[in-house]
């Protein structure tokens, strides 16, 4: 990875708007501006159409011979399947309200990163083939036909959108660029174009049950290690049930949380919480992925990967499913899962009910899937947890709303309720950058890959900027989030835009504050760093 420019250089280097009409500007594939292509073998394994070797930097992308017909047909098929697509192609008035809502646009000043223009890339093709005026008047009314540069352009900008839906919040007609980006990605997959960082996890998930390709025995091994670490910290080794039948709850969380720092601490948080509650639950190595990179590929792939959840709940006889902290996972679960693979297996509970408080989660009565912060917020409200928030007193924490739970679900106050109960110092970032207005980490929807690090720092600028604001104003030194991708992408982002701010999941802080029955005196947090606020600590 090339060294990054300084934030000042990064912003100063944003080019002015070009003079030429956007249709006359060809996409440019410099190293660092694109994600690596998916491997042919990966695409073959997944039975994706037209797998082939190609590279974005090459002039020739080796598209299949009849690529144009494939794309025209695929587009028409999508129009027949999605009313949203027809509508969003027809009704945009180009009022421009969305323009500066996009973090990619703010970070790059590339006009084609304005959501309206991102959609216009596809809309221009729609006009040519599907509207009368476009057929007759062509370029005059913003219509154009397919050519190979158009395909390249679509690829470039479909992978400069994190499907965060911030633009859709401000659009007077609710035009959702995530929907358009998702469909453009589908079209590109029809001619064998995908990116490695998405397709490789998809392949892994299909075989091993999780994106990271962790095989069952390794999965167990890692979780056992994490349980050991928990014991190190609190003197209690939480139980780690795997693939066990007959438990009330199946717990599913993104595999990123068993793999990488700082996600692992969130996972340890779950283990400790469940142990303390004596929760009747099991993990699964088969359904060992909460996230769904299929949702960044095609709707059908998302469905396919998601299907394991109900299948496993059925096999294990679980009454309901508890889901861990993850962003796009919850977009899929909240808005797609029941439609994809529902109704839930018949043996499951009518309404998922907390075994500890008896609270019925009526908002999840069809999917039977409850978000962990809903679950924990309810526990805290009913005083079922003994908490010592002073253990987190060395942190002044803020909360990053992940795009998907914010704008595809509305999970806003549950994590805040939990955070405020386990941390004494909680500060919000500026109003226009949180809750439903939240900015993406800059690398969602499968763009959390190293080769586009500079682009990620650009697109993450609004989030980084808001974080630095509270860092300077209130001394914030920690940012909590409820998303596994965030836990991977925010540390480098914070390091770049607001150095000195650490990142964690909410449940890492919960477990830090959780007073467990029979625990030893805590002198370390879950990261095994000294707790400065505990008597008898080092200070």
């Amino acid at each position: 990875m090339a060294t990054l420019p300084t934030p000042q250089q990064l912003i100063a280097s944003r080019p002015a708007f070009p003079k030429e009409n956007w249709m006359d500007i060809k996409p440019d594939f410099k190293p660092g501006s694109f994600c690596y292509p998916a491997q042919k073998q990966t695409m073959e394994l997944l039975h994706m159409p037209n797998p082939h070797e190609w590279n974005p930097a090459d002039e020739d992308w080796n598209l299949p011979e009849n690529w144009e017909q494939i794309l025209i047909d695929a587009f028409e098929e999508r129009l027949k399947k999605h009313r949203s697509l027809k509508l969003f192609m027809d009704i945009c008035v180009r009022c421009g309200a969305c323009a500066d809502k996009c973090h990619f646009f703010l970070g790059t000043n590339d006009p084609k990163n304005m959501p309206v223009m991102r959609a216009e890339l596809l809309r221009s093709l729609y006009r040519k083939d599907h509207t009368m005026l476009g057929k007759i008047l062509g370029k005059k009314v913003g219509a154009r036909g397919w050519d190979k540069d158009v395909v390249k352009e679509l690829f470039s900008y479909a992978y400069q959108c994190t499907e965060c839906r911030r633009c859709s919040l401000y659009c007077p007609y609710g035009i959702d660029t995530a929907e358009i980006t998702a469909i453009v990605r589908e079209l590109l997959h029809e001619v064998g174009l995908g990116i490695h960082w998405i397709m490789d996890p998809v392949k892994n998930c299909n075989i091993t049950g999780n994106h990271l390709g962790i095989k069952p025995h390794s999965f167990v091994e890692i979780v056992e290690m994490l349980a050991d670490d928990c014991e190190e910290v609190c003197g209690i080794r939480p139980k780690t049930p795997f693939n066990e039948k007959g438990h009330e709850i199946l717990f599913i969380t993104p595999s990123g949380d068993v793999f990488a720092d700082p996600g692992v601490y969130t996972f340890m948080g779950y283990l400790m919480l469940f142990h303390e509650l004596g929760l009747d639950y099991t993990l699964s190595t088969y359904a060992s992925e909460g996230g769904n990179f299929g949702s960044f590929t095609t709707f059908n792939m998302a469905k396919k990967l998601n299907a394991k959840m109900y299948a496993e709940a059925e096999r294990l006889g679980s009454k309901w499913i508890l889901g861990g902290e993850c962003g796009h996972m919850w977009r899929v679960i909240n808005q797609y899962m029941d439609t994809y693979n529902g109704p839930a297996p018949a043996h499951m509970m009518d309404v998922p009910t907390s075994p500890i408080t008896g609270t019925q989660f009526t908002n999840a009565k069809s999917t039977k899937m409850v978000h962990i912060t809903e679950f924990t917020a309810d526990l805290i409200k009913h005083n079922k947890l003994k908490l010592d928030p002073s253990r987190n007193d060395h942190l002044i924490t803020t909360f990053h709303d992940s795009c998907n739970p914010a704008r595809g679900m509305g999970l806003l106050d549950e994590p805040r309720a939990v955070l405020k109960a386990v941390c004494n110092n909680f500060v919000e970032m500026p109003e226009k950058t949180i809750r439903e207005h939240t900015f993406c980490c800059g690398a969602g929807s499968g763009l959390n890959t190293e080769e586009i690090m500079e682009l990620r720092m650009r697109s993450g600028m609004p989030r980084g900027n808001a974080l630095r604001y509270v860092q300077q104003k209130y001394g914030v030194n920690h940012m909590a989030c409820v998303c596994a991708i965030d836990r991977a992408t925010l540390p480098p982002l914070a390091n770049y835009w607001a150095p000195g701010v650490s990142v964690s999941g909410v449940h890492e802080l919960v477990a830090n504050a959780l007073v467990m029955t029979g625990e030893k005196k805590r002198t370390m947090d879950l990261r095994q760093e000294d707790l400065p606020n505990v008597d008898g600590g080092d200070e």
Binding site: I11, D100, V141
Partner: protein, 339 residues
């Protein structure tokens, strides 16, 4: 912009010449009837076209707190979970442009560098002004379509002309409508982002409506015509008994220019972005409740039997290592099979 302006001017000139050369019935009778038929049929055709595609997924954009635990207050207007909630959300969207009201202006500054967010309600304000004034102007025109004129229309006119400026009295809606239109045009011309993304599809309807409004205002304030004849003419149109030259000869050509602009607008409507008006009602990010975890949403093209990696296949792949790791398995490895 220049092409659109040219086209709009050309339409006006053609209509003017046509009416002056005695083709009043072509521009005043034939064209309006055709336009109304195209407008109504075209809009219905587009609505049917949209509705032929299903809404496979319920994808509301949630603009606030979801309905979850009892003690957490739901943002029921921006994140409704019931049909009634959606009705309220749509009402605010359609009548008050609620989403646009959220608008902000973000400015990236190189000092810092930092981003500053400003509240930016201008677009909302002028868009709302434009739409409501247009509606009121449309309603006011019913004095030409109904006889006797109902009191409610007279009342709207009285309120609209309440300042009693000049004779005939100046209507506020007309002035505000023109102001709003000029604002909407101005931002396309002077805002760099807007200028870059605007197409003929944006300038043409704006200029067309400006021309429609200007010709209408001229007819009222500057180049007047005999409105008693105009009413006789329009009543003829709406009662399907069009009047002939004995009436049209008393009506100035500008009236036919005005009517032609309206006809062109009606004919252009179904094939253009102006379809956002019926379209907003169809928008799946606004018109669906966020209750998809509680209520099943059916996708008509969902393949119930789509293959996925089943547990059995998974266990077949990993049985040995699973057993080794002490994981329970459905089928014990057959010792004989090994090696």
């Amino acid at each position: 912009m220049s092409t659109s302006l040219l086209v709009v001017l050309l339409i006006g000139v053609v209509a003017w010449l046509g009416a002056s050369l005695g083709l009043a019935s072509l521009f005043g009778v034939f064209l309006p009837y055709v336009a109304v038929i195209i407008f109504i049929a075209g809009v219905v055709w587009r609505m049917v076209y949209w509705s032929k595609s299903p809404v496979p997924f319920a994808i509301p954009t949630t603009g606030g707190q979801q309905a979850s635990l009892e003690w957490i207050k739901q943002a029921s207007l921006d994140n409704p979970s019931t049909k009634w909630g959606v009705v309220k959300r749509m009402f605010l969207e359609v009548f008050f442009f609620r989403s646009l009201f959220r608008n902000t202006y973000a400015e990236v500054r190189e000092d810092g560098p930092r981003i500053v967010y400003f509240s930016s309600k201008w677009l909302w304000c002028f868009a709302l002004l434009f739409h409501y004034c247009f509606l009121l102007v449309f309603i006011r025109h019913f004095r030409f379509f109904i006889d006797p004129v109902p009191a409610c229309i007279t009342f709207i006119e009285a309120v609209d002309g309440v300042l009693q400026i000049g004779a005939p009295r100046l209507y506020l809606t007309g002035v505000l409508l023109l102001t709003a239109l000029l604002f909407l045009l101005g931002r396309r011309l002077f805002n760099e982002r807007l200028r870059y993304l605007s197409l003929m599809n944006d300038y043409f309807p704006l200029l067309l409506i400006i021309a429609l409004v200007l010709s209408g205002m001229s007819l009222r304030y500057f180049i007047k015509t005999d409105i008693a004849s105009v009413k006789a003419f329009t009543m003829g149109l709406v009662t399907f008994q069009p009047v002939g030259a004995e009436v049209t000869k008393n009506i100035g050509s500008l009236f036919f220019v005005h009517l032609t602009y309206l006809s062109v607008l009606l004919m252009y409507f179904p094939f253009s972005k102006l379809m956002h008006a019926p379209g907003v009602f169809f928008s799946p990010t606004r018109n669906l409740p966020n209750n998809t975890r509680a209520v099943h949403h059916e996708n008509p093209w969902n393949d119930r039997n789509a293959p996925f990696t089943t547990y059995a296949e998974y266990e077949d792949t990993f049985r040995d290592v699973m057993v080794e790791a002490g994981l329970p398995v459905e089928k014990q490895p057959d010792a004989g099979d090994k090696e």
